[in-house]
């Protein structure tokens, strides 16, 4: 009956891995949304190998250990197959290597089961085995290598075959401790009185275990393999606890580890890095805590159902193959998969402890319990590290992670567990106290539950807000697969568009001189300008029906196709303005003084957003700051402009007091950032008068009041968005118009500034800004103008009133004639 159960479970595991493989094959067609793609096939080698090897492992257990626990092999096999396919999905070449290692590991499993069943050879040759393990590990100090070519040299070997001796050393140490303690500890003694803690620690019989564990630890510490060292220490403490029933041993060792961590935090770089990245990952998301943040982002991207095998982006997480394979699995199979994986680990651990309790003698009992502790401690350390429950320790997730030594050790350990569980008719050995076993089962269970709750926290509760972080590269990646909305001018002429087909969409900036305003969107440099402020419409997360957004998220893990946005920019006038400003350093704004619509916004010098990937680093350090939109983000002293506007408001005979001046400047809007869908400069703080700085956009809005009967309009640059359900939907203004002057004052001031032609008012002034002189030119239509009132602002970063006036008036004339 047990044999049937094992076969049934293995069939369910095979079904899971088969469906997984089918999805992995189809994944490229989902990502690129077409059948005309190359499907993935290489991982079927892995699936086939897994099926054949698991079949043989199953047959061997039936033959050699017919009464073995029926849950151990299926859970471990499922984990190993799941890991193998995930590795294929991440790096197909590593998948092939892992297939080779799975073959070796399964052969080792079969070989171990064919050894004499009472395992006495292990008990007898414990010192030789351990010494061999220590020797191999010590050899890495001299001949150590790292397959990656850099980093800690923990491996032996060369070419494509590397062995990390500290992995088998774990198992050898467990076997040694089990054998030694089983020989020396009287199994049937009363649990309590015979050993006090002091007596226990002084007892000479423990000295060899101190020496052996200490020697292993020293080698690991010299190698700086701190994760493995903590595993050794914890496993040693837990085995002593199981053997003696003294709760103080693991408590003391645990406290000791925390103390060592605290000391290391101050004196050892790597520990400091790991602990500070754990305590406060958000402080340095692109540096020290890059790995953990990317891991959490991957888990968040998985959500409840996961993106589907091959459809997520787990390759973004560093070392997703080994240390962070749990994050990769959580991204592609979601919280459902993550919890199931934790449940599989749980089944393995609980059956391991059960095997230990039912073992026929105390050596086998301690060996089974020790193996379970090693699997539990290592699994919980790396799972907790992935989930930010514990500081990150670079160890593998047993059975799942890439790594030959780890897989081999895990499978030999599994074989020993299976062997011990097949005790046949023999009675369990006498147990001194069941308490340590119950306590450990509780601890392991709580640890796994904590991991499950934490997965839920990152995937469901914190997930949505995490995914909007700018360091989440998945958003830019989805731009390659989903068409981003276009930006159009007010006459629906395309300015910026995404071209290509799914998988290779690229952004084309057809009119480059608008770069400072439009900005860019690029997967390395992020976003700027309107591309950033209109991102939700352009990416389709806003403006589309919520059900469509959710359906696309479920199917593809991407937003639906983006929406086109119409800007208030008049491209013909914009071209004229850019031509006039070519070669200058400055900014220009032409605005409808009544509606606040920005018809022209120019900032020079500018750049080519099509090449931001190549030119970006140089642009960032350019003295001319082409990336800054001078029209909205540049701040200059208003100089005589402020006097002009104040002169219109206040009588010369009664100069205003300070409070009235500040109140007036506030009316002008110089203390507030203009509210529109465009990045603007932070305004000067309220109350600033002498060192007040304003942007050309703020000046344009204030100046517009002279052409608009004293009312400062609410600015707009994005006019409407083309939604699939309702067509073009108007985007409302972000603020309300403000009355600055009375209509009479505004009209009188405008008329007093009228230029000879009688069409416009104008004002030009220069001012000293830091070490250079700047020129302001403002102008607008007069009150008797019948068309839409217009205002223009020109700013030049050089003293040239004639040029500023010529540019401004020419543009104003062109605009008036055009209307």
């Amino acid at each position: 009956m047990n044999n049937n159960l094992q076969a049934t479970l293995l069939k369910a595991a095979a079904a899971f891995l088969f469906i997984f493989s089918v999805i992995l094959s189809l994944a490229p067609s989902v990502r690129e949304r077409t059948w005309a793609v190359d499907l993935n096939w290489t991982h079927w080698i892995g699936f086939a190998a897994w099926a054949v090897l698991t079949f043989f492992a199953h047959r061997t257990t039936l033959e050699r250990a017919p009464s073995a626990d029926a849950f151990l092999l299926p859970s471990a096999s499922l984990l190993a197959g799941w890991g193998l396919l995930t590795i294929y999905r991440l790096e197909p070449t590593f998948g092939l290597r892992q297939t080779a290692w799975l073959t070796i590991s399964t052969l080792a499993f079969i070989f171990t089961l064919r050894l004499p069943p009472n395992l006495n050879f292990l008990r007898r040759y414990k010192y030789i085995a351990l010494a061999l393990g220590l020797l191999l590990t010590a050899l890495t100090l001299i001949f150590g290598a790292n397959p990656a070519g850099f980093g800690p040299r923990l491996w032996l070997g060369g070419g494509t075959i590397y062995l990390q001796p500290s992995e088998p050393l774990k198992l050898l140490l467990v076997a040694y401790l089990a054998a030694y303690l089983a020989d020396r500890l009287p199994a049937t003694s009363a649990p309590s009185q015979r050993f006090t803690l002091r007596g226990l620690l002084n007892l000479p019989f423990l000295i060899p275990t101190f020496l052996m564990t200490g020697l292993s630890l020293t080698i690991l510490l010299v190698q700086r393999d701190l994760g493995t060292a903590s595993i050794f220490l914890l496993v040693y403490a837990l085995i002593l606890f199981l053997a003696t029933g003294k709760r103080r041993i693991p408590v003391l060792v645990g406290l000791g580890l925390i103390l060592a961590g605290a000391i290391g935090y101050f004196y050892v770089d790597i520990i400091n890095l790991r602990i500070s990245a754990w305590l406060n990952p958000w402080a340095d998301p692109s540096g020290r805590s890059y790995q953990i943040i990317q891991s959490l982002l991957a888990i968040a991207n998985g959500g409840l159902f996961g993106r589907g095998p091959g459809i997520g982006a787990p390759t973004l997480v560093p070392v997703a193959l080994s240390d962070f394979i749990f994050a990769a699995i959580a991204e592609e199979t979601g919280l459902l998969g993550a919890v199931a994986l934790l449940a599989l680990v749980g089944i393995l651990l609980f059956r391991g402890l059960r095997t230990a309790l039912a073992a026929p003698d105390s050596f086998q009992r301690l060996l089974a319990a020790g193996i379970t502790c090693y699997l539990a401690v290592q699994s919980l350390l790396i799972l907790g590290g992935n989930l930010r429950l514990l500081p990150l320790t670079g160890v593998t997730l047993p059975f799942v992670s890439y790594g030959g030594s780890s897989l081999l050790t895990a499978f030999v350990a599994l074989a020993l567990l299976v062997r011990i569980s097949a005790r046949g008719e023999s009675e369990p050995a006498v147990l001194v106290s069941q308490k340590p076993y119950t306590l450990l089962a509780t601890l392991f269970g709580l640890g796994l539950i904590a991991c499950a709750l934490s997965s839920g926290w990152w995937a469901i509760i914190r997930g949505p807000s995490l995914l909007t972080r700018t360091d989440n590269p998945r958003r830019s990646i989805s731009d390659f697969y989903v068409q981003r909305g276009a930006l159009l001018d007010r006459a629906n002429t395309t300015i910026t568009i995404s071209l290509g087909e799914s998988g290779s969409f690229s952004r084309k900036y057809l009119y480059q001189d608008l770069a400072s305003v439009i900005g860019y969107t690029q997967y390395l440099f992020g976003q700027a300008g309107l591309e950033s402020t209109l991102d939700e419409y352009l990416r389709g997360t806003q403006g589309n029906p919520a059900s469509l957004v959710q359906w696309n998220q479920l199917l593809y893990g991407t937003p639906p196709a983006g929406l086109d946005v119409r800007l208030s920019i008049d491209l013909n006038l914009q071209i004229a303005a850019d031509a006039a400003l070519a070669g200058e350093t400055g900014a220009l704004i032409l605005m409808n003084a009544q509606s606040g619509e920005i018809l022209v916004m120019a900032s020079h010098p500018t750049y080519d957003p099509n090449n931001i990937g190549d030119e970006g680093p140089a642009l960032l350090t350019d003295d001319q700051t082409p990336l800054v939109n001078r029209a909205a983000q540049g701040l200059y002293t208003p100089a005589a402009l402020l006097a002009l506007l104040a002169g219109a408001q206040f009588d010369d005979t009664s100069p205003p007091n300070d409070a009235a001046r500040v109140a007036f400047i506030e009316q002008l809007g110089f203390y507030e950032a203009p509210a529109l869908l465009l990045p603007v400069a932070d305004p000067s703080p309220r109350g600033e008068v002498d060192s007040l700085r304003v942007s050309p956009l703020q000046v344009a809005l204030a100046a517009a009041s002279l052409s608009n009967d004293g009312v400062r309009p609410a600015p707009r640059i994005a006019l409407a968005v083309n939604t699939p359900m309702q067509g073009w939907v108007i985007l409302p203004t972000q603020s309300q118009p403000v009355t600055i002057f009375s209509a009479q004052t505004a009209q009188a001031t405008a008329l007093s500034l009228a230029e000879p032609s009688g069409l416009f008012w104008k004002f030009v002034t220069t001012a000293l800004e830091k070490d250079k002189t700047i020129t302001w030119f403002i102008a607008g239509t007069l009150p008797d103008w019948q068309g839409a009132p217009l205002t223009v602002v020109v700013l030049l970063e050089k003293p040239d009133p004639q040029l500023a006036e010529a540019i401004g008036l020419a543009l104003l004339r062109a605009a008036v004639n055009g209307h």
Binding site: L5, I23, W35, G306, G308, A340, I347, L555
Partner: protein, 156 residues
């Protein structure tokens, strides 16, 4: 198109994973139940004790459970009114397929077939246990089933 197909496959994927887990949990629960049933139905050979307190009459008692305490304490299974016996004097238990006798650190000790009992010892029929001035003669009976459930054939 492929996405909808893959969505269905993804649902099947999750289903197969949880079928594995569900199956495993059901099997574990069944294992627990069966273990409990088999322990409850375990066959224990009955133990016949012929008890003689000092030089009194021989009384005969039969036990069918796996643990029997002998002592002066009335709560003991074999409560003997004999001042030379400790409150909890000796312990008879069935495990590893045998009946075992163990002295519970009694004041005057327990003798098995005239020799003082030092370690737990296996009993066979005819063994004589001496506790203080009392004598108990052991006779191990045939196996009986504690509470067998009989399935009667249903006649239609």
């Amino acid at each position: 198109m492929s996405a909808t197909l893959v969505l269905i496959l993804r649902a099947l994927l999750a289903a197969s994973l949880y079928i594995f887990l569900l199956w495993a949990f059901i099997a574990m629960w069944r294992g627990l139940r069966d273990q409990g049933l088999s322990l409850a139905n375990r066959r224990i050979p009955s133990l016949d004790l012929s008890i003689q307190i000092e030089d009194g009459p021989l009384t005969r008692r039969t036990f069918q459970h796996a643990e029997i305490f002998i002592g002066r304490d009335p709560a003991c299974d074999v409560a003997l009114e004999d001042n030379s016996i400790s409150a909890r004097h000796a312990h008879l238990s069935y495990h590893h397929g045998q009946w075992w006798l163990e002295d519970l650190a009694s004041t005057n000790g327990t003798r098995l077939n005239q020799s003082l009992l030092q370690v737990p010892t296996v009993l066979v029929s005819g063994d004589q246990i001496e506790c203080g001035h009392s004598l108990i003669i052991v006779s191990i009976g045939a196996s009986i089933e504690a509470s067998p459930t009989l399935r009667l054939p249903i006649e239609s």
